[in-house]
């Protein structure tokens, strides 16, 4: 593809989702990421109990990620045809898993801060 700049990629994603939806999704991802960093900074440590639940949610996120892509396209898992397809498939699953883990960890930490967690122990 000619001139595949970062600006071009942004333009393409704006067209895929619509400008409003795309930037809302970017904003949502940024807010969750910032909230994640905030709780890490606030707590100065990882709460392993919360992390465990976050890890347990990862397969759910992976399945949801793949399910979303298959739902939005006329394709199925039978269509995976070469090594790059496996890589893309795994990347989608990994993105879903990591996104879900961050989301679950952040929500737990916001709802139940570390101090309260320690107080309960």
């Amino acid at each position: 593809m000619k001139d595949m700049t970062f600006g071009t990629i942004l333009a393409v994603f704006e067209e895929i989702f619509g400008t409003g939806m795309f930037w809302s999704m970017v904003a949502a991802a940024l807010i969750v990421t910032l909230a994640y960093l905030y709780v890490l900074m606030r707590d100065h440590s990882i709460a392993w109990r919360k992390f465990l639940l976050a890890q347990l949610s990862m397969p759910v996120g992976a399945v949801l990620g793949v399910w979303f892509v298959l739902l939005m396209t006329n394709s199925s898992l039978n269509d995976l045809g070469g090594p790059v397809d496996i890589i893309v498939f795994l990347a989608i699953a990994a993105a879903g898993a990591i996104g879900m883990a961050i989301l679950v960890y952040t929500i737990q930490s916001l709802i139940r801060p570390a101090a309260k967690d320690r107080g309960a122990q």
């Binding site: 393409v12 994603f13 895929i16 960093l37 900074m41 394709s75 269509d79 045809g81 893309v88």
Partner: protein
């Protein structure tokens, strides 16, 4: 193991994110060039629209006029999907005016006369528009009358399909094709002898309907025949070989040197001109008709066509690298109408638009152009629902993959299908807006 992050690290991360976001919004915004130039663009299709959007940011004060009677803008790469029941007809339809920038004038009429000596274009109502620079991008004409016995009103009935004719006909094509996929019989898939837009589409339609028939469990009662005037299945030899192998795998019979000349809808019989002037009869239950394709009459009548090449088709005589007319240096050809060996696809337009833009800007600012079109064309060759081959090539029949070593051009891949189904229309739309 504790993981800690202090406030300074947090701020660094946030600053990095902001810088990344800002980088995305930056575009190459060179200062607009002041000019009084009158630029006329015939055609507000993919090429004309994308060019207009780019010119308004590059030029200040230019009078840019587009001429196009078409109210609807068609995303033509989507027609293959409509004709296979994978997308609704409105998937390809938008309004011409949706894509045009402020500061340009749209005359909703066709060009009726071009005078390259006196430098004006007359519209169908007789309005004369003078120009300093002219871009000819009206698209092409589907010559359905060249197929005896065929009429567009027949599409969708009696096993007749013709997806090129537009969204309504692509949807009707699916009606006829899906009936064939259910009932079986003889499927006959054709292509014309002339140059044509998206030369991969006849193959895509064949592959898709074969796959759908197989998927429905009816492959055993269906025969597939692909008849083409050319000597090989694809213009690029290495791709032709791959398609030949796929045809073998899928039990699709190829009939080369077969040119569809007529159909007899009642008898469901097609007549083909053979290599030695013979006439070959082929019976069908489903036929996909793609008519000969030519430049619009106004191009041929204005003396802009090649005098010695494609004489029955009339494509604009232009340099294949700069797309500038060989006899009139204030005229450029863009898109389907350009008389170049390859490039009647939206992907080609994407690569041609910056070349014409550079030619125009260079002429206005008195410098030599630098952009050259190398014949790039892309064909996401759908081989079945869910898989495609991302084939890209140039004038020299070299494969020029965008993702070498990652996306193999001659491999049937899911990622190539995803690109066709998800990313292609978005990229096309971004191109129309002058952003890709």
């Amino acid at each position: 193991m504790p993981f800690t992050l202090n406030r300074r690290q947090m701020l660094s991360l946030a600053a990095g994110s902001a810088a990344l976001a800002a980088a995305g919004s930056q575009t190459a915004t060179a200062a607009a060039i002041p000019t009084q130039a009158r630029i006329v663009i015939i055609g507000a299709g993919a090429g004309g629209t994308a060019l207009a959007n780019r010119l308004v940011t590059r030029l200040k004060g230019a009078q840019i006029t587009l001429m196009d009677p078409r109210v609807e803008h068609l995303y033509q790469p989507g027609l293959s999907l409509v004709a296979a029941g994978l997308k609704p007809a409105d998937y390809v339809v938008s309004k011409t005016t949706d894509w045009l920038p402020d500061g340009v004038t749209l005359i909703a009429e066709a060009a009726a006369e071009i005078d390259p000596e006196a430098k004006f274009v007359a519209t169908t109502s007789g309005q004369k528009v003078a120009y300093d620079f002219l871009v000819v991008a009206p698209g092409l004409v589907l010559d359905h009358d060249a197929i005896d016995g065929f009429d567009l009103n027949m599409v969708g009935e009696n096993g007749i399909g013709a997806l090129y004719a537009g969204p309504k006909y692509a949807a009707a094509t699916w009606k006829a094709a899906s009936k064939f996929a259910e009932e079986g019989g003889v499927g006959l898939f054709t292509r014309p002898a002339t140059e044509m837009k998206c030369a991969g589409a006849p193959l895509k339609h064949t592959f898709l309907i074969e796959d759908i028939t197989r998927d429905k469990g009816n492959r055993g009662k269906a025969e597939f025949h692909y008849a083409a005037p050319q000597g090989s299945l694809f213009g690029v030899p290495i791709v032709a070989e791959k398609v030949r192998m796929l045809f073998g795998d899928r039990d699709i019979n190829a009939h080369m040197k077969h040119t569809l000349t007529a159909i007899e809808p009642g008898a469901k019989r097609a007549y083909m001109a053979g290599a030695e002037g013979s006439t070959i009869e082929m019976d069908y239950d489903y036929i996909h008709v793609i008519p000969p394709q030519r430049a619009p009459d106004v191009i041929r009548q204005s003396g802009l066509s090649w005098p010695d090449k494609w004489t029955n088709q009339g494509w604009v005589e232009c340099d294949k690298g700069t797309l500038q007319h060989l006899r009139y240096d204030t005229i450029w050809a863009l898109g389907d109408v350009a008389g170049v060996p390859k490039g009647k696809t939206a992907a080609s337009v994407k690569w041609q638009v910056p070349v014409v833009e550079d030619g125009l800007i260079s002429a206005i600012s008195g410098r030599a152009p630098t952009e050259i079109y190398n014949g790039y064309t892309s064909c996401p060759m759908i081989t079945r629902v869910g898989r495609a081959m991302l084939i890209e090539f140039d004038y020299n029949n070299n494969l020029v993959p965008s993702f070498p070593g990652v996306i193999a051009p001659l491999e049937e891949l899911w990622i190539s299908w995803l690109m066709k189904e998800v990313a292609l229309k978005a990229t096309y739309n971004a191109m129309l807006r002058g952003r890709a």
